[in-house]
Amino acid sequence: MDNEPVILVENLDKTFVLRHTRSIKEYVVWTMRGRKGELSETFKALNNVSLTVSQGESVGLIGLNGSGKSTLLKLISGVMQPNAGSVRVRGQVAGLIEVGAGFHPDLTGRENVYLNGAILGMSEKELDAKFDEIVAFSEIEKFIDTEVKFYSSGMFLRLAFSVAVHSRPDIFLVDEILAVGDEPFQQKCLAKIRELKGQGQTLVVVSHDLRRIQEICDRGILLDHGNVVLDGTISEAVDRMHNK
């Protein structure tokens, strides 16, 4: 694997403004009571984060809720823009922030495969070619022309995961992918991810499932309140998290 950086994050800051109200009425009332300052508060989600990911690396982002993992992923995918610092990527990023983002309950499985595939950047030709493979992987052939709202949550996730792994982006960003379906299907997903990794796929994964993430990732980054606490191997990161 060459060491060409595919994700370059430099001195990244991200601040959120949490507004408590938008209505004129409350704005006036709060201002008159001298509580104007409480109308909104800012919250620093990421603080001076820098990291480099090379092609073919598999990186696990771990940390407690609110540590900034998902925000970092959103900044890398371009869904959000930083307040300071910069993010640069090379090639096509699959903005797969969550499995099944963009699935619509009123469309059939088939329609959703096409819609979701297109959202993840696949062309019509690619989708036509891979459609059978996608459905076969998800093992829900019988229900492919049923509306997704009638699917069980397991079936839904299987199909969504299947579309995602077949979209083959240059950089794969995944938020909580590992809770897909039952144990046998999870094993199948893991095998698929390992296969992609073997082919030099760059992966950035966010998960709370520390056992699973160790099976997938080589490198681990531990975040705490928006700061990078540790950037090393995945087992170092997991150990550090356990010891806190």
Binding site: Q55, S77, G95, E98, D170
Partner: protein
């Protein structure tokens, strides 16, 4: 088999060239339009038939109230055709405005999770509006033919120009409203308000010369150069003027109005795109 990306330069994710990027995403655009239409008519017995039922009802009600009760039928030849060609314009405008305004908020799960050029959603809304517009034009054509419609090339051209004016104007406003709607949901109500007013402040029910004499010159100038007035007049020229017994009375200054209205449309579209891009960076966190 991951592609070799070393030849590709580093770029900042989440930046697009706005509307110019849309053609590249044509396939997704098509699917978004299909989704939108499927979702709108889910569980509906009449389905797409509603696109005929609604304007037909509108036409009958307005014709009875305006044409008969207020006797506009006696003052304007072939009033039904006159009325409907205007209604079709306003319906297109209102639907584009309403759809685009709701487009970003309505696609919140996507906007917040996957990066796509966000202009895709308003543009898909415009397309959906056209899917509803074409059946209305078909009905209008049938109606015009009954009244002896014999168009020349200029009339057809006027139709195309009218469609362009409405589409560009409403997309421009819609882009602004879509962005504001993310910050303040008031935008949807405001769009409804504009829709309510627009049908009265353009020559749909009455003729333009009834306005000219009734208001000060500067108000008349604004009225006449309003893209919706120009579009309505273009449609009148396309569908109503070439029907039997109508003496076309194209306003002498129409060329100037049309030129100003076209300029307004382009300015509004550019402005809309700028406002949209300005707010776009915050869409994901505000939704």
């Amino acid at each position: 088999m991951s592609r070799d990306t070393t030849a590709v330069t580093l770029r900042h994710p989440g930046h697009s060239r706005g509307l110019f990027d849309i053609p590249r995403w044509f396939f997704l655009l098509k699917l978004l339009v299909r989704k939108e239409i499927r979702v709108r008519y889910r569980g509906s017995v009449l389905g797409m038939l509603w696109t005929y039922v609604k304007p037909a009802t509108q036409l009958v009600v307005y014709y009875v109230a305006m044409g008969r009760f207020l006797r506009l039928n006696d003052r304007v030849d072939n009033y039904v055709v006159y009325l409907f060609s205007g209604i079709v314009v306003i319906n297109l405008f209102n639907e584009i405005l309403r759809n685009t305004t709701a487009s970003i908020v309505g696609n919140a799960p996507l906007v917040g999770k996957v990066y796509l050029p966000r202009e895709l959603f308003p543009v898909a809304s415009v397309w959906v509006a056209f899917v509803h517009f074409l059946p209305q034009v078909a009905v209008l054509l049938v109606g015009a033919l009954v009244f002896g419609w014999r168009p020349g090339p200029m009339n057809i051209l006027a139709f195309v120009a009218g469609v362009l004016v409405v589409a560009v104007f409403s997309l421009g406003i819609g882009l602004m409203f879509a962005a504001w709607n993310v910050l303040f949901r008031d935008a949807e109500n405001f769009a409804d308000l504009i829709g309510m007013v627009s049908i009265w402040l353009s020559p749909i029910f009455y003729k333009w010369d009834m306005v000219a004499g009734a208001v000060p010159a500067w108000i008349w100038a604004i009225y006449a150069c309003n893209p919706l007035s120009v579009a309505a007049e273009l449609f009148h020229y396309a569908f109503w003027a070439p029907t039997r017994g109508v003496v076309a009375d194209v306003p002498t200054q129409f060329g100037i109005w049309a030129a100003v209205a076209s300029a307004v449309c382009i300015i509004v579209l550019v402005l809309g795109q700028m406002v949209f891009r300005h707010h776009e960076v915050r869409f994901a966190e505000e939704l």
